[in-house]
Homo-oligomer: 178 residues x 2
Amino acid sequence: MSLPHALITALVEQPSSGSDLASRFDRSIGYFWHATHQQIYRELGRLEAAGWVESLPPESGRGRKKVYQVLPSGLAELQRWVAEDQDPLPQRNAFMVRLRAEAVVGPTGLASDIQRRLTLHQQKLAEYRSIEVRDFGREGASRKAQLQHLVLEAGIMQETLWIEFSEKALKILATADL
Amino acid sequence: MSLPHALITALVEQPSSGSDLASRFDRSIGYFWHATHQQIYRELGRLEAAGWVESLPPESGRGRKKVYQVLPSGLAELQRWVAEDQDPLPQRNAFMVRLRAEAVVGPTGLASDIQRRLTLHQQKLAEYRSIEVRDFGREGASRKAQLQHLVLEAGIMQETLWIEFSEKALKILATADL
DNA sequence: ACAACCATGTAAGTAGTTACATGATTTA
DNA sequence: TAAATCATGTAACTACTTACATGGTTGT
């Protein structure tokens, strides 16, 4: 369960309100750990109850936003969690289930949906590449920047994989459905 | 939500009991959609209540096993679901959360755990490759076999990706932690 | 006949999703 | 000043996880 630690990380990088976090989860952090605003607000409440973060009084934010920042015990918890060994999570890939189902009940018109998904993956890849150019253009970066770049590279590698895979699938369907 | 359709697919391929399915989910199907035996038994009950599968009377199985088989309405439901457009599921990759956290609170001793995970991915890859040799050695396969092979290839591509990624991560940690 | 294991399940809890609600602030 | 949007939530539900239970079967 990584949501609390993803939130603490985000708050260490930049103290934020729930809605700030929600929009950051739509951009950078959420590329690897999706969360809705309801999850975020609920989890922020838990983090505060656990004494890992505190919310600044609203006047300091000059509005209705409730800005949270990480407390020392929250930072300690994050360090503990990061240092812990963890196994890769079990896979859940609905598209593979669907391909396997198609193999036994098909042919259905899968190709058009694969084409549509291929486009989505190409868009995501382009997005990642533009972030890469914008944020990681220069050489000789710090350890921190190198690791952040590495995470982005994982995204690039994954999207590249699914593009390649989609093309392979289309090729099979084109020849096998004749 | 793909578990019911993963189960129907598995039962179309081969009528099975709950425990048979549980062991198949530990091998082939579960490589892409993990499920525990509790989930499987519960879902089989729902599928039967929905009239999509039926359980054969226990005497036909010659034991205490309850063997399920797919009914025509279950097959129709599977076809409907397969033909439906679906977006890729939102990503949830705890390791990327962890790397990003490490970037802000590190260095911790990440390298040893990455090395351990690298070994796990290499083992999985070897497993996939041996299944490939065993089940998909010959040429000129049927459409069905080609699609089943394709699913396995996705697994091979993914494990290869994580091996490559782990090696890249180790390289960064080796130079940046000096 | 007793222990170990197998097959099926129940119960309780956590995580994530979907739909809706409320008051504050900005915009037309 | 009314409508639209923003920020923060509540409620209800579904999916998944973890721990335990029960009775049948197999092996010694």
